[in-house]
Amino acid sequence: MSTDLETIAMLRDSAARYAEDNYSFHQRWSVLEQPSGYSPQAWSDFAEFGFLALRLPEEEGGLDGDAVAVGAIMEIVGARLLMEPLLASAVVGTGLLLRQGSAEQKATLLPALADGSLVLALADEDAPGQACVFDGRHLTGGKLGVLHGDVAGKLLVSARDTAGETVVVLVDAEAPGVSRKAYRLVDGRGAALIAFEGVQAECLQPESGHSAAESLAAIRDEATVALCAESLGIVRNLVTITTEYLKVRKQFGRTIGSNQALQHRMVDCFMLQEEIRALVAAAQQALAGPAEERTRIVSGARAYIAHAARKVCNEAIQMHGGLGVTDELDVSHYFRRLMVNAALFGSRDAHFARFTDATLAVASPH
């Protein structure tokens, strides 16, 4: 599947225009004060624009969007630091349901995902000593760091069945036996620690196709690539903002951008931006490719981008001087978002190790 360029351009334009009008850095302050950590108004606007149905097949009223289409939205998410659970619900939750859900499960849930009435989050990382177990009807265990787990209406939970096989189960977040400890992440988004005690759950069971383990691996890669696109949006804005600042900030009677030391460092940031752009495109393409190459390129892109984006952001703070560490400047908010993103779907080191192993496993072609 490959989304046509026109649709992607349309998505990009409409998301950019919406954010421009409704999600400026100043308008965003009120979103940060929302108890949910995001704007319910923006969320229903996204539903109206079709962003929440991005991943849905056309016959379900969706766009059947591929990684490039998802990336077009995620770049805006990064550039404007949108707070809504687009990644958690519209990309990861929806994507996993599409891969692993039965026809009936999809028929029930997809319309609610598309119209925004349901937020579906993935709870994947076991709390220490509380590995999740599914006995066929009930789920027991604990999960950590569930992004938007505080507001999700339903949860997809990875677990082992009694035979030790990986399964994905669907749980109502309000069901008896679910206890959620909500907290805020450093970038203002919500998350939760969630404990399950004999909670009634149903297994996601496709009529045919992938195992749950395969689907989880695929969705983690998909999420990783979406995060890469988000980082590209962040880095592009940081490079633009900081370059502009170098042109206006004066010290010793001249703009600080006239200093070669800063020019060269800014060029290094620009080069990182260009490499990130190339890596994002390659990772998006690799998602549809063969498994080994997918692993190599996706994890390679993520490992490189994790360092590169942090480097650009550190430089942006440094070049803004004291302002760079203030709450009132967007640079510090990008810094916090990158921190959170770096902790989602695998650490830099884990992706680097995966990349290195995959690369060195292949013999040289010549």
Binding site: Q260, E274, L279, A282, A303, F355, T359, H366
Partner: protein, 397 residues
């Protein structure tokens, strides 16, 4: 970039691999495999081989004997040769002065020079840098004063690669001393056999003389050897530099040396374990691989932008900076991993195609390249100049 363009570039890569395996003479392949120093005769043979394949000037327009290759095909060609460890495509004729002649030269100049460039019938060198004008090329001081139907040239060029072999020198000279630096410069073709031309080799740390000083003392150059108009040399030089800075072989060189490092790390056992299993080295190789991935993808992105005209102006600089830095670092690690063999250099044996005293039989070539490639971040616009270019042209700083 269209699928068709990509497919054409891939086919070309396959043709290059087939050429390397089946057409390239064994002695040349052996020397290039070991990265030994090639003689002029070797290079001329090499360049003519490329011409016989229809490749030496394939990037030129068809009316001058080329095939009108897209930037992608040209990149794929040079990249694949470099990955295979082939000798470099000596650029002074086919890549640098050839395009200047067909773009700005007279009809007579095109007929006189282009065929000899295509076939390497005549060997060219580049007279740009001077002792006082390196990165700041506009500071050049070599003068060419018009006297009747010829110019009289006086001055000194330096870092002139293969001047000792060259039949011709394309040269930037100052024809008007009173003008502002750039506008007094002209582009002149100088016959190296002219009286008053003296070539003095410069020995570099690899024990070899790739580069030279070229002294020009009252050298008479026919006025018909002026390219284009007097005083427009800077425009032609910039056109040439743009060609010089295309992505070229840098990505392939980095790939080749990284591949060589992996091969060495797999084949060499220390205390019963392959070097590649040592965690610190493995980690470094992983980091190089990651940087190579970013470089390769950025290069394709850049070439695609060159092909569809959407360049931001920083593409070639990015590839040069990243490619040469990676190339140098990987080479450094390779040399270190050779241990004792990495400091046992027999330059003389290398020239005569002998074997090194220690280590694998390409050790000498590895060391030669290691010494030579310290200049990779200096020639063709130093890394600092490249960053200046991007700061100004792309970021507007």
């Amino acid at each position: 970039m269209t699928q068709e363009l990509r497919a054409r570039a891939e086919r070309l890569r396959q043709e290059v691999r087939d050429f390397y395996a089946h057409v390239m003479p064994a002695d040349l392949r052996d020397k290039s495999h070991r990265h030994q120093v090639l003689s002029k005769e070797d290079y001329v043979r090499w360049m003519r081989l490329l011409d016989q394949q229809g490749w030496s000037v394939a990037h030129w327009p068809a009316e001058y004997g080329g095939k009108g290759w897209s930037p992608l095909e040209r990149f794929a060609f040079e990249d694949e040769l470099a990955r295979l460890g082939c000798p470099w495509v000596i650029p002074f004729g086919v890549k640098y002065v050839g395009p200047v002649i067909y773009a700005f030269g007279s009809e007579a100049q095109k007929q006189r020079f282009l065929p000899g460039i295509k076939t390497t019938e005549e060997f060219w060198a580049q007279g740009y840098s001077e002792p006082g004008a390196g990165s700041d090329l506009a500071g050049l001081r070599t003068t060419a004063l018009r006297e009747g139907d010829h110019y009289v040239v006086n001055g000194q060029k330096v870092w002139t690669t293969y001047a000792q072999w060259a039949d011709w020198l394309f040269c930037l000279v100052r024809t008007d001393r009173d003008d502002k630096p750039q506008s007094g410069i002209s582009f002149l073709l100088i016959d190296m056999n002219s009286p008053g031309v003296k070539v003095v080799p410069i020995r570099t740390m690899d024990g070899y003389a790739h580069v030279n000083e070229v002294w020009l003392e009252d050298v008479k150059v026919p006025a018909e050897n002026l390219i284009g108009e007097e005083g427009k040399g800077w425009t032609y030089a910039k056109f040439l530099l743009k060609n010089e800075r295309t992505a070229g072989a840098i990505v392939g060189w980095a790939w080749h040396v990284l591949d060589r490092l992996k091969k060495h790390a797999r084949e060499t056992r220390v205390d019963g374990a392959a070097l590649i299993e040592q965690p610190l080295l493995r980690n470094r190789i992983g980091e190089y691989e990651l940087r190579f991935l970013a470089l390769e993808l950025a290069a394709y992105q850049a070439v695609a932008a060159m092909a569809d005209g959407s360049e931001n102006g920083g593409e070639a600089s990015l590839i040069k900076i990243r490619g040469t830095e990676l190339y140098q670092e990987v080479m450094e690690t390779l040399v270190e991993s050779l241990g004792a063999a990495g400091v046992a250099f027999d330059g003389e044996a290398l020239h005569r195609a002998g074997l090194p005293p220690l280590g694998p039989d390409d050790t000498g070539g590895i060391l030669k390249d290691h010494f030579y490639n310290r200049a990779a971040t200096i020639f063709g616009g130093s890394s600092e100049i490249q960053r200046n270019i991007v700061a100004k042209a792309v970021l507007g700083l």
